[in-house]
């Protein structure tokens, strides 16, 4: 009974929303393109929008709760423009359908139209099916999404294209109960693309009645020929040293092959044979190729049992700050063992880079500004949980920081390391579900007074002086009771 009344209240709210905004815009066309992958799925939705009222500025899109859960990157643009539009979740705590407000760059006149492109990257949206695979078997994944793009406005026509990376699609859902929108085949497949729609004359759909009547899940089961890389936990610590003119970055990476779990056991013989004939199983991670920043030195790669000798680094020379880096230091990283489905591998990767490549001084205030990337992307991987710790020089004050996207939590602490007396301020930030798109810099600004710079030499000098003073005195003390 309580649930029913909840539903009832929900529908009332939905209807209220529909009546309030339903008339502002009309979608002339919605095209959703889903690029399937392993860990990451890219969803691009283009809304062709016509204003039904003059001076309309806020366009609203709707995402279901499940969609919002998996979406870890969301960006809206006017088609053809590079400026990113502001997207605000109207009620982050709501359940069911979330309404996101997009502020257009300028208000639309009556009957004027605009194309809005909503780019989203979904993580954890696919899962291996079957759940286990032996060394010789291929890897197949399943992707689940909703059939219709919801919108608080009336939609003239909408379609969803799902593109698989390989043409071998094992199965896909044929939607039922869509006669209201189309009389043709509700779904067509050509090559590696499965298209749902076009569906015509979709009424405003953000309401319980429409969802329960028309919305339905669709599944796509497809072959995927690359390993599914997941980083369950990433801990990055970035240590800024003014005395060493150095930015040290160290990542503790826990890597996991999220593809189908290995059926049976690993056979080295099979693996060697497959490698020899260059047809490795698709779900093996034999190694990773990482693009580290240019100009790095002292790169280290070790795990709990010491240095991992099987890696190659091709370092690129340093590039000045803010210039376009067209070169990377390429690290060919090979784990101790090929990572089969369901296997884990944790390691530590770190390097030093010149501080001038990522730091600058604000002339007007004398503050230092340092940029530290949130993470160094591992291609096609998702980071479930990330902790970034930025350690500032000892004695840094007026610490401020700006993250490229909101962090889950942030805290300040004190970190004590070599030759420290009072410890260094450290910022700890937590993120989740990071993708390649999240590899953007965090900006930290702080000022360091001269006295703080001098702390280290003074501490060292005092230490040496005390040792000498102690020796000076100790030499002259005679504890003998009777002299002979």
């Amino acid at each position: 009974m309580a649930r029913l009344s909840g539903l009832f209240t929900g529908s009332v709210i939905f209807c209220a929303i529909c009546s309030a905004f339903g008339a502002t815009f009309e979608n002339t066309a919605i095209v959703r393109t889903v690029e399937l992958g392993g860990s990451l799925v890219q969803v691009t939705t283009t809304f062709a929008v016509k204003a039904l009222e003059a001076n309309s500025k806020i366009y609203t899109v709707a995402l279901s709760d499940a969609e919002l859960q998996t979406t870890s990157w969301l960006e809206a643009r006017v088609k053809g423009q590079s400026k990113v539009l502001e997207v605000v979740d109207r009620d982050p705590k709501s359940t069911g359908v979330h309404l996101l407000d997009i502020t257009l760059p300028q208000p639309l006149a009556l009957n004027a139209s605009v194309n809005i492109v909503l780019e989203a990257i979904q993580t954890h949206a696919t899962y291996p099916w079957p759940e286990t695979a032996s060394q010789q078997e291929p890897q197949a994944l399943k992707y689940k999404t909703d059939l219709l793009v919801l919108s608080p406005y009336h939609t003239a026509v909408q379609r969803t294209k799902i593109r698989s990376p390989s043409p071998s699609i094992h199965s896909y859902t044929t939607p039922e109960n869509v006669d209201d929108f189309t009389l043709d085949a509700p779904v067509t497949k050509s090559g590696a693309t499965v298209t749902y729609g076009p569906y015509n004359n979709v009424a405003p759909s953000v309401n319980e009645k429409f969802i329960s009547k028309h919305q339905q899940p669709v599944f796509l089961h497809y072959d995927y020929e690359y390993p599914v890389v997941q980083v369950p936990k990433l801990v990055r610590s970035a240590e800024i040293s003014h005395w060493g003119a150095n930015l040290n970055i160290q990542d503790n990476i826990h890597l996991r092959n999220a593809g189908p779990a290995l059926k049976g056991h690993f056979s080295r013989l099979e693996h060697q044979t497959q490698t020899f004939y260059k047809r490795s199983a698709p779900h093996v991670i034999p190694g990773l190729t990482l693009h580290l920043p240019a100009g790095i030195r002292n790169t280290y790669y070790y795990d709990l049992n010491g240095n991992v000798s099987t890696s190659r680094l091709r370092a690129a020379p340093s590039v000045p700050k803010d210039s376009q880096a067209n070169q990377y230091s390429v690290l060919e990283l090979k784990p101790r063992y090929p990572i089969m489905g369901g296997w884990n591998y944790s390691f530590t990767l770190g390097w030093d880079s010149p501080l001038e490549d990522s730091a600058s001084v604000d002339k007007s205030t004398g503050k230092y500004i340092v940029q530290v990337p949130v993470w160094t992307p591992i291609p096609a991987a998702v980071v479930n949980e990330a902790e970034v710790m930025i350690i500032l020089p000892e004695g840094a004050t007026d610490v401020e920081f700006a993250t490229p996207f909101p962090a889950i939590s942030s805290s300040m602490s004190t970190h004590t390391t070599y030759l420290d007396t009072t410890g260094r301020p450290a910022i700890t930030l937590h993120f989740k579900d990071l993708t390649e798109r999240h590899a953007q810099p965090i900006f930290v600004s702080y000022s360091v007074p001269m006295s703080a710079h001098l702390k280290k030499p003074i501490a060292v000098a005092v230490a040496f002086f005390s040792v000498f003073a102690f020796a000076l005195i100790a030499r002259r003390i005679d504890l003998r009771i009777h002299k002979n």
Binding site: F266, S267, R268, Q272, G306, N307, Y337, W343, T416, L419
Partner: protein, 723 residues
């Protein structure tokens, strides 16, 4: 004797002393630098890693000590070792090494120097060389300093020269390969710290003896305690000092100095050593320690006689008394033997017997004989470890006889004992290495003080230079390999690292349940515990012969016998080392006969060594290998699917250069699954199957799951289902 180059006469003595002191400090600093640098080959050629086997346990224990504190370490019961028995680590370990690292760790962290515990452990051995050189110098300087007291006229020049001998000795000991073998960076073993303590204890003892000082006697006792806490080889000190005392008494050199030094050292040292839980009451209850007690008693008697003699006049009576008391001492010795016989005092242990009879261990305790460092030393290794010190060594000993004061007697005894022990056990070469340089420091110094003829200086210089060259070569080549990784050369000459051990251990660590029990031969126990962090059945702390024999039996029996053993011990994974693919000769097939022998020691009816040889008495692994050999679990695990690598051509084992043709093709283990094999096949890990849930025997369960029908024509397996 005159100095080779006379000192300018217009210098004030203070200037000379200060200059000498400065030069000495610089020379010592350089020697320390050279000693440390030559021990870093391992880190530079490879990496900062703990070497070999035992150091992995020490490292693991140190980590427990630093992370949980000393009391937790003291009470540490390690459930993962000797599964399912466990091991009381706090009571079965010499904690000196770990405590030293723990103190250094805490000290550095208190100073805000967060050095990783691994680096502290890796660098502990080289770091100790610095004070070691110093300590040795002091011994040497002290010998010479006191030796020239009578020669007032040339006191300064003389002291310079003697200190130069001390410096030479320090330089020798700093780089001599025999000692480097146990103190390279990463060789985090008890010996690394113990030799330094051994030297320092002897230094304090000599000084106490010379001065008759209770302070230095106490210091010797304190360092003796440290030594007891650090290494089982402390017994060497426990017997060397009494022997020295006894020889001095028998030479008629008893003095109050000897009495004070020995009594203070023995009383305090023994009480202190009993505080180490692993030693406990051994100092008063085992034969190894009885000599020290006996000499202590003898000294009291002799001292008492001296006291009586100083008060009574009749000389004949006193002589009679003296000899009577000597015989009382002998009676006491016989009493000790009697008590040992009855059983009050524990007799000598097997390892001790094997010091006197090199064949003893092979017959009675195969587990001791199976360790390569318990083998008698070969001649080349004397030269390899000591180079020209070995042939100058006798000259140094002769040199001692020229003066023959108390401390020279000590050095002579030390030289004789150490040479003997180095001869019977490779491991004890270590005890010899400090004394050889000390003697040769004096010898070479003697050459320099001769009227300098160019040829002699040239020869001496050539020998020294060649010595340095040899030490560097031996250190870099022979003693700096971590043995956890193997090195090979790429076609372009660069270093190629074969890292199969860590690959396998890391795989175990990350992809098996934390409670999975791993069975392997005991050599790899500490490494599995340290790197893979998994429970093991047996490890390098070979305290339970039966348990090791059980593993040996499982490895050397057929599957039908081995499987119940594996299941009863909850074994989840079996790890074997296989060198046939790469030509790595230290593999389990090579050690296999030791497993057989140790198992035979406990189950003589079930395991017989001759069954593993061909009728011609050869140890073969190819198709002519004996049936018992071919059916053994070890053999099957080593060669499982090995033949398939060769695609129909005869398979080749690169270690034994054996060729297989068809034998291996049909070999299948029924009760084990291959779980992981490393890149070069060196480590192979098998998972033990659980009993079939339907109660079938594993053979038919396998056949069913592979879709094969059981052949009805054959009689059914007679093997009872395993419960």
């Amino acid at each position: 004797m005159s100095a080779a180059i006379p000192l300018p006469s217009d210098l004030s003595p203070v200037t000379v002393a200060n200059t000498a002191s400065l030069l000495r400090i610089i020379a010592l600093a350089l020697i320390s630098g050279a000693a440390i640098a030559s021990r870093l080959f391992a880190v530079i050629n490879f990496e900062s890693i703990i070497h070999e086997f035992d150091p992995w346990f020490n490292y693991r224990a140190t980590r427990v000590l630093t992370s949980k504190g000393f009391y937790e370490f003291w009470n540490w019961f390690d459930r993962t070792a000797w599964y399912p028995l466990g091991r009381v680590v706090g009571g079965t370990v010499y904690p000196g090494l770990m405590a030293t690292s723990g103190v250094i760790y805490n000290f550095l962290h208190a100073l805000n120097l967060p050095v990783d515990i691994r680096n502290i452990c890796v660098m502990l051995a080289p770091r100790l060389q610095c004070p070691d050189g110093l300590g040795d110098l002091h011994v040497r300087v002290f010998f010479n300093h006191t030796s020239c007291l009578h020669n007032f006229g040339f006191r300064f020049t003389k002291e310079m020269k003697d200190e130069s001998a001390g410096l030479l000795a320090a330089a020798f000991i700093g780089i001599v390969p025999g000692y480097i073998s146990r103190s390279v960076a990463g060789s985090y073993d008890n010996e690394a710290i113990a030799i330094f303590l051994l030297m320092f204890t002897f230094f304090c003892w000599i000084k106490a003896l010379k001065l008759g000082s209770a302070l230095f006697g106490t210091l010797a006792a304190v360092f003796y305690f440290y030594m007891v806490a650090a290494w089982g080889g402390y017994v060497f000190i426990t017997n060397m000092i009494p022997l020295h005392g006894l020889v001095l008494i028998l030479m008629g050199r008893f003095s109050s100095r000897l009495y004070v030094a020995y009594s203070s050292w023995y009383a305090i040292g023994t009480l202190a050593s009993m505080q180490v839980p692993f030693v406990g009451f051994q100092p008063v209850s085992t034969s190894e320690h009885m000599a020290a007690l006996g000499v202590f008693g003898l000294l009291q008697i002799v001292a008492f006689t001296q006291l009586v003699r100083s008060h009574v006049s009749s000389k004949q009576f006193q002589d009679l008394l003296f000899w009577a008391l000597i015989s009382v001492g002998l009676l006491g010795f016989l009493a000790v033997v009697g008590l040992t016989y009855i059983g009050v005092i524990a007799p000598w242990t097997g390892r001790f017997y094997s010091l006197w009879d090199t064949g003893y261990a092979k017959i009675h305790i195969p587990i001791i004989a199976s360790v390569s460092e318990h083998q008698p030393t070969a001649w080349p290794s004397f030269f390899g470890d000591l180079q020209f010190l070995i042939f100058l060594f006798p000259a140094g000993v002769v040199h001692c006889f020229q003066q023959l004061r108390d401390e020279h007697v000590f050095v002579i005894i030390y030289a004789v004992m150490a040479s003997y022990f180095a001869g019977v056990m490779v491991r004890l070469m270590l005890a010899l290495t400090p004394v050889a340089p000390v003697r040769n420091g004096a010898r070479v110094r003697g050459i320099f003080s001769l009227d300098t003829r160019l040829t002699i200086v040239g020869t001496a210089f050539f020998m020294l230079a060649f010595f340095v060259h040899h030490c560097t070569w031996a250190t870099a080549g022979a003693y700096s390999s971590p043995s956890v990784v193997l090195a090979a050369a790429n076609p372009d000459g660069s270093l190629h690292i074969i890292d199969d051990f860590r690959e396998a251990y890391h795989w175990l660590r990350q992809n098996t349940p934390e409670t999975a029990v791993v069975m392997s031969w005991w050599d790899y126990g500490y490494q599995i515990a340290g790197m893979a962090d998994r429970p093991t059945l047996v490890d390098n702390n070979t305290w339970n012969n039966t348990h090791i024999a059980t593993v040996g039996k499982a490895m050397s029996s057929s599957e039908e016998v081995a499987y119940p053993i594996l299941r009863k011990h909850d074994v989840d994974y079996v790890l074997v080392i296989f060198g046939g693919y790469l030509g790595f000769s230290g593999d389990d097939i090579n050690k296999f006969l030791w497993m057989v022998r140790i198992a035979q020691g406990v189950w003589p009816e079930e395991i017989q060594e001759p069954n593993y040889f061909t009728p011609q008495g050869e140890y073969r692994v190819d198709e002519r290998a004996s049936t018992t050999m071919q059916n053994s679990l070890m053999y099957k695990m080593s060669y499982y699917r090995f033949a398939e690598l060769f695609g129909g051509k005869p398979a080749t084992d690169k270690v034994s250069i054996a060729f297989f043709i068809l034998l291996l093709a049909n070999m299948r283990a029924v009760s084990l699954d291959e779980a992981y094999t490393t890149e070069n096949w060196i480590v192979r890990i098998y998972q033990v199957k659980k009993e079939d849930v339907l109660g079938r025997d594993l053979k038919s369960a396998n056949a069913f799951s592979q879709g094969r029908k059981r052949k009805r024509s054959r009689p059914m397996s007679r093997r009872p289902p395993v419960v």
